[in-house]
């Protein structure tokens, strides 16, 4: 079946612009997670959704970052007034449920802020 999809695959933007990254989870998966992978650094958790509720936003780096989810479907991660340090690969993952369980990752969106 279809896996997790993300769009766009690549995004180049100018410093100060806003960007929206999209994630389509596997159908039926209630849990959705966003992670960031910066060059030379590890993977870091950003935010997760249980349905359309985000119980834990502790990983969002600043108030320029926000995310929402429509039902148990698409999620968008929005970065306002992008900075060069926002350049990274943004990965989305979904799982059948929140809690200890396998997460399946999308291919990621590579964001470059000039």
């Amino acid at each position: 079946g279809a896996g997790v999809s993300q769009s766009p695959s690549n995004k180049v933007t100018e410093k100060g612009k806003d960007v929206e990254l999209r994630c389509d989870p596997i159908s039926g998966h209630t849990a959705l997670y966003w992670y960031r992978q910066r060059l030379g650094q590890g993977l870091e958790f950003l935010i997760y959704f249980q349905g359309n509720s985000a119980p834990d936003k502790s990983g969002l780096p600043s108030d320029r970052f926000s995310a929402e989810r429509t039902g148990e479907s698409v999620s968008t991660l929005t970065i306002q007034r992008t900075q060069q340090e926002d350049s990274a690969v943004y990965l989305c993952a979904s799982g059948l449920k929140t809690g200890p369980d396998t997460q399946y990752f999308g291919p990621g969106t590579r964001l470059t802020v000039l």
């Binding site: 958790f45 200890p100 396998t102 997460q103």
Partner: protein, 112 residues
């Protein structure tokens, strides 16, 4: 607080030889442990997990891992490495809400 460590930045192995990628963890409760693999310009692919049960976990592509509670380790192993196994491998520990905390990653290079 929980954490995971991958002590090796890179592992080099000849094709056909055994492959081991090391991972140690620190958790306050029950450990939920995962291995993922990342090929260039691709997302992470799930290999295997330990939630509960047998200490020896078998996963995709011939990989297995052994959960060792006394040594707080979860090393990834493959009896006979292939050139196509060359990739970046991540160990991760998961909390009760599902958040994954990843190790720094180990680059595996398998030479023909």
């Amino acid at each position: 607080a929980q954490s995971v460590a991958q002590p090796e930045d890179q592992v080099n192995v000849a094709e056909g030889n055994p492959l081991t990628v090391k991972c140690t963890y620190s958790v306050s409760g029950n450990p939920y442990l995962f291995w993922y693999v990342q090929y260039p310009n691709r997302g992470l692919q799930f290999l295997l997990k330990y939630i509960t049960g047998d200490n020896l976990v078998k996963g995709s592509y011939g990989f297995e891992a052994e959960f060792n509670k006394s040594q707080t380790s979860f090393h990834l192993k493959k009896p006979s490495a292939l050139v196509s196994d060359s990739a970046l491998y991540f160990c991760a520990v998961q909390d009760s809400w599902g958040k994954l905390q990843f190790g720094a990653g180990t680059q595996v290079v398998v030479t023909p």
